[in-house]
Symmetry: C3
Subunit: 675 residues, 3 copies
């Protein structure tokens, strides 16, 4: 898939206003004013497209697509499975999900379909086929948007119905072959949980089995597998007629579904981004989180992705929904682009009059038409994208550093009853990631299946579970000269969540032997001296024996004072670092800062960045540097080079001044300051 | 209904002691000592009155009524539907409620009947008829007390059974006629929720639909409607024989049921008041709340009401149940009277030996008979009521100011997913109300259906939903010279919870155009300068354009600094005030204080009241002024007049000294101080 | 039952490693190194012992028992009912519990069997019989361990299925004979709850009846009764063949089951102790709690008990699981012994590879064999037990003071809707207990059924419910010279939770008349002057009239200033003390400290103990004194005597110095310091 422009637009629900042609006409006029070139249609339109089973009403949709096309606006067309029509749920309750507690949902809400249900699949195939067939007649359509935010059922993302139970058992039979193998993998001799008949197996549930971690882990895998199969099913229905690319809109680090698996089925990654800006005065934690999400979306295919939804003003579903401050909409949009997005799409174009999202931020509100700050700020984004798209659209970030974020590890780690029950993978992961954000150095976020050799450094925090072959891959990587950083509570279990016995699978590479892990209470927190500076430790402190490496820092307090907390081990041509404890943020900044210096990696401006300012870079014919200021005040960055602003042509030498919440798009010019 | 005396008494459960004639005899003797003249019988007596289906045992009740009557004590007789007998629930489970989650309750507790159930209504009609027939023989009975605290099921006050679902659909058919109209009103095109068959409609439930606000709103209306219909059903059963007035005991601002609708079916308003005194040293917040509740009960019919329950000492159902401090029982009782009550009734006369309310405050405890502080304080109330009833009983408060408190607005506002999910109507409403309480100025509390023209000022905080015709009524009111105060997040939706589009329905009257509403986080709070003093703003800050009026205060901080926060608009012969933000309490005190001064409205003593002291006034042949001190220390009030204490005849000139927790009952004398 | 040695060992699950003979061999070798002499087998082995219904595979177990025996290690053999095999739950769902909400559990987890189920009992009898028959062939088996932690279902410990409902009704019929008696006892006239058919009775449930306290109380009694009946059933099955003693492992103060009743069925008490050491730097609160649990276990039979489970390092099921600091394992183990344990047993010997407890502390971890601090500390315990067992094994603590801790009181008290809903019996009880812990004076903990006359003082805090005959027993006790201390909210209800009327059942003994109980909020807290020192009061302040006694302290504030807070009443030859309020900890220390001085009771070292140090003493041929230091630093204790360390023979005169977390085992030598 190749577009030669940046997309700008969003979710559009004209079906709510079919009785108001004046409003539909105003929509198109204002889209043009706002620099919109692409709209998403059809999300949640099932009951309007198929008002009764087998009765299709597509004309209204076709008309809108054509009118948009005439106005120079493309269409991303959604399949409507995100919301089920009442005729379907009333007559075929089996299409609705059964909850973890065993109760079947009633009709309503979203994300309420069973992805296994034969009836659901039958009706899906029909409506998707109709849409695909129709699409051939409308050149305005450029992309399929399958369903919507799959799995977002505000619970475990799963259906527990009888059809799903049967499918789960079949999946297990295919995986294990015999119950003997399954019992071994799940360690069912514990607590007398041995299965003697496949029919005894049930999905994990609080009212029954939920403490057999192997079962829990396989169930999560199955849910991803089955949801992906549903995605594949919808794609196949479209492919009967259409060869247009497909996507489905992901959501952040979404625990119920392994996006690294699901993404294999789509042609382009897209996702919905809703950072909670202005939660506090310090916007950095939120900016870091958003940057990480964007980076992961890009890293999955190592290609530009699509920002499929974002709010032009505020959301309406948090407890407190502050308005985006002036400039933040531009900055937030450019941040997405900076990390690899080729679009800025919104939810939603116009606020509806009723129901749950009537106050959700939109380009157009209920009363003020174009006379709003929001509209003006959206139009500015449109203008800027149009000005810069030639330079940006073909470029993409290329990171030298990879961080491992793996769903299977996430599931197993947070399910473990170990030193703490509240271990938060994402929280710790983001502390490591933030060090690079603060330095303005791009990082790829990949799972354990990824190729490591493209990277100069690989970081794997809390890497509790090792997939089959992972330890070997890391060993080869370090041996060949790679730098590998990992932490306490890593290399504990294999792919079945069975503890490794005997020795640590990377013991030789890391040069350590681990004895025990402390989870010190608040009053027992420790600290270390690392290169002459003191750092507090956090929720975990592992007591390890340095068997071969160099102790860079040791614990200062408690009975394990003197025991190593940071160990460096040379292995082959590379180096491995073991961080035995969790640390406060500043440790990670200094630790990785030192490594970057050693390795000669720096940000694209070779600049020391003030707090709140970061850089991301898309490589292309000419590299595009995004210099972003997340502080609500002017900031200065000292550089040694000369840079041109891509959209304005303005030149900067040496010191660059950024306005509050400003993102500059820069290209390096030949020469240096004072040359 | 007209009584020439103040009632004093409470809930009496002699059926728990029928095997103890000594105790029943002691009861009557001590009632006389305590100045009791009215007892409530029969609440929860069903299993004693009808031990088996169709078998009635009323004699014990008749005997008690007669013995009370002989002792000069009237009876308020309850219908027994507050508690279901086991024979009914065992054989006819359909009389019990089905919860929101779809499960049917088991027998037990209270408030557990389905108000729609045919069986329930059949048995209710029978027992109520028997009681009504019996009542003809007993002149002691003066009032019917239908059921008990209807809807208080500790959940949503509703039944979700199949009979109710059918009744709901019939109610909707009558309201909307066609599904097309219903789909339009509920905006069901959103998320593909269009109904194509009435049978698809189900009450809102967390396991199904709960995000279609139109459905949620209509369901709440239906619940009130159906509960009111049950009340009407009980009244009709009584009316077969009895023409005595009826009431049902309400509870505070009770969200599940729109009391403004229900009150139409009763002859006199009664309610159960349980303020949490001594929760903190500052009793003002609680006194304000209690005053508001009393005021609303009075305002519904603009007539005296009945305090039907209150505790003589402590309650037993809060986490922490402190004893009423000396004097608080008198003050709390007089406060009810001050705002319009013609009774002081207690729950309960005597503590039972077993089950849930055995420790609930009572006039008599388990062991000490009349030898308790509680008994003595109750007797003092009896004495004081007897002394003052001639002056008080025919009088009633007449307010010049109305505040709008409307259930439909409450439901819609707090269901909205808007700038905040935690908007608390009652909390904000009480901040406005408190300004008047602190000034000692009476306020009526009415809903949007009320007549406005009787009032000099109308205040409508967070008036999110406008009922049909409301905007027109307000426009006429202001045009004719009324003063109207409203706030941000008002005039947003119509009676179907559909957003107004185009313009604010009171835009011309208020002189504003609203652009967006901020819900600033803690670190982003704003402030305004109003008449030279600084005030903090609260959880909402609306950004409005002053189109026509006078900006009285503007925001000081954030990007909307300088934007108007308080706007006055002259319209016709009146004035409208728009408070664009929520403010801290002192702003409301000063804002309304200034308005009162401008309008020449003052409290009955024309006095500046010290903190913790307030005044309420009942108008009659001679006006009765209740000067209340909610502080646990002596307080002084400077007046310019001469006053006589109604019960003691004591005279006060100029300065009046109040004891700790004292309420003085005063009448104005001719002349002024020093005349 | 009489053993001549201290047991040291724990739960062993060789069935998880049957395919790893190398590991099984290592196990036995390392057990010897660690001084292990007794292992618990068979907990949760059902699915390995009976893989299909009626098919038994016991050989693996017999082999292990024999191998252990050959190595000098005894076996405690568990019946396997703690965990149900899938073949049983799949085909006979009735063996699984029904929850309070009416739903039946699915297969899985632990503690999931219905103790009433006929099928469950049938299968239990079969497997227990097989084990008992087998046991005759293996002299290594020394004790039966019936099931595991009965009732620990993470809920109310109960099953609510139809079989249980029927059994409950039969139990009630036997207890009450007629519904009339039951209605009277449960005070069902309240809220119209009168039962007219036994079939109307249902266990308490949030969805039905839960506010009839008599029902709640009888249900809890029934649950204990039925669980005890199941225990008896298992014992009977074993007794068909085996005459070995039986136990079942209890857990702390476990509210769902009245251990004082259950213990009647076992030959020796055993329990599982998991104090949360290192939760905070101050270990005293946890040490006090653990000491109280141990004391109660000992007091039930007034004999040594068995510590059946404890962790050698950390647990894995708390939110945060810190490692035991060096020394704490020895101290915690010796603490158990100090209060009467004749064992130190662990859960678990070796960490499993999978499922919920794979990280639970064990003697052996996954990788390090004997090369761990944990292993070494376990071996030290083994060595010390071996050295001291001759002195210790036949001795037992003999207290002069008893504290009443009674399950029926616990149930009724915390179910009461009285002055507070959050009254915490255990919290208040432990404040009294802690005074003695800090003084180093042993206390027995018994229920109301216990014989009082063996004690010089009896303490009964929050003794809300009086069992039949209890008041008479106390009266005789005080009359005959006993000292009785009780508190506010005592003597309120009889055995049916019906309030006493007329007068306090111990009014004459205590010399008081109680009028009312205040539950003052935070801002209303009171204080008293007791012997010239000020003490804060807590959550309850009773206002009592001193009718006969001596007021030792009075309230200082509030309207009840001057009202007595501590009253002493001489009655017969004894004294009664009434503490009308709850106080801060230091009051109890000083109050009981004074009493001890008066009564001439002191700790075995006659020493004033520094904070964190305590003493417990086992009486035997020679008394054994356990001097325990719960502080992580050296502490000194001044004594006037000469003592010998039992294990080392080291002598101490006068000052004894304790290391951090040290427990000294001492025996008094003739003579005094400087003699």
């Amino acid at each position: 898939m190749k577009w030669n422009k940046m997309l700008h637009g969003g979710d559009y629900n004209p079906e709510q206003w079919l009785d108001r042609p004046d409003i539909l006409a105003e929509d198109i006029a204002l889209m043009k004013k706002a620099g919109i070139n692409c709209m998403t249609l059809g999300v949640f339109s099932w009951s309007m497209l198929e008002p009764e089973e087998g009765v299709y009403r597509l004309q209204w949709l076709e008309d809108i697509i054509d009118r948009l096309y005439e106005a120079g606006i493309s269409t991303i067309l959604a399949t409507p499975t995100g919301g089920l029509p009442h005729w379907l749920t009333k007559d075929f309750p089996e299409v609705m999900q059964v909850r973890e507690d065993g109760g079947r949902n009633l009709p309503g809400k979203r994300h309420n379909f069973c992805y296994t249900s034969k009836k659901m699949r039958e009706r899906t195939k029909e409506i998707d086929g109709k849409l695909a067939e129709m699409s051939l007649r409308h050149p305005g359509i450029i992309l399929w948007h399958i369903s919507n935010e799959l799995g977002g059922n505000f619970a475990d993302g799963a259906c527990h119905c009888d059809e799903c139970q049967r499918a789960f058992r079949e999946w297990l039979k295919r995986k294990y072959g015999t119950l003997q193998e399954l019992n071994k993998a799940w360690w069912t001799t514990f607590w007398s949980r041995r299965y003697t008949d496949w029919e005894q197996i049930h999905s994990p549930t609080p009212g029954g089995e939920c403490l057999v971690h192997g079962l829990n882990l396989d169930w999560r895998r199955f849910v991803t597998c089955q949801m992906t199969d549903f995605l594949r099913w919808e794609k196949a229905a479209l492919r009967e007629y259409s060869s247009l690319p497909v996507t489905t809109n992901f959501m952040y680090f979404f625990k119920p579904l392994d996006y690294c698996e699901m993404q294999k089925e789509v042609d382009v990654i897209s996702w919905d981004s809703y950072p909670f800006w202005h939660k506090e005065k310090d916007e950095v934690p939120m900016a870091v989180k958003a940057a990480a999400y964007h980076s992961m979306m890009r890293s999955m295919k190592k290609k530009p992705f699509l920002l499929m939804e974002s709010t032009p003003s505020a959301v309406s579903w948090r407890n407190c929904n502050p308005l985006k401050r002036p400039g933040m909409h531009m900055l937030s949009s450019m941040q997405a682009v900076a990390y690899g997005s080729n679009t800025v799409q919104y939810f939603q174009w116009r606020k509806g009059r009723g129901a749950f999202e009537k106050f959700h931020g939109a380009v157009l509100d209920h009363k003020n038409g174009e006379n709003t700050r929001t509209f003006r700020e959206v139009a500015e984004v449109g203008l800027r994208l149009a000005k810069t798209q030639k330079q940006i659209v073909g470029s993409c970030n290329r990171a030298e550093i990879a961080m491992i974020f793996d769903w299977e590890n996430w599931w197993a780690l947070e399910d473990a009853a170990g030193p703490r029950l509240d271990i938060n993978y994402k929280r710790v992961f983001l502390k490591h990631y933030r060090a690079f954000w603060e330095m303005g150095i791009d990082v790829d976020i990949v799972n354990m299946d990824g190729e490591l050799k493209d990277y100069r450094m690989v970081i794997a925090p809390l890497n509790y579970l090792y997939k089959k072959g992972y330890a070997d891959k890391v060993e080869r990587y370090v041996e060949s000269g790679g730098v590998y950083v990992t932490t306490c509570f890593s290399g504990i279990v294999d792919e079945n969540d069975l503890c490794f016995i005997g020795e640590h699978p990377l013991g030789k590479v890391l040069g350590i032997r681990s004895e025990e892990i402390d989870a010190p209470g608040e009053e027992f927190r420790n600290l270390v001296d690392f290169h002459g500076k003191w750092y507090n430790t956090g929720e975990l402190c592992e007591i390890v024996h340095n068997e071969n490496g160099q102790t860079l820092a040791a614990y200062e307090k408690e009975y394990y004072a003197g025991s190593p907390a940071v160990i460096k081990n040379e292995f082959g041509r590379g180096n491995a670092y073991y961080l035995a404890a969790e640390f406060e943020q500043v440790f990670y900044n200094d630790f990785y800062g030192g490594l970057m210096e050693e390795m000669g990696i720096e940000n694209p401006l070779s600049a020391k960045l003030p707090y709140g300012v970061t850089i991301s870079e898309r490589k292309g014919e000419r590299d595009i540097i995004f210099l972003q200021n997340f502080r609500d005040e002017n900031m200065e960055v000292e550089t040694a080079g000369r840079y041109e602003e891509t959209d304005t042509g303005m030149l900067w030498e040496g010191k660059i001044t950024l306005g509050a919440f400003e993102c500059k798009i820069l290209q390096r010019m030949e020469g240096k300051v004072n040359e």
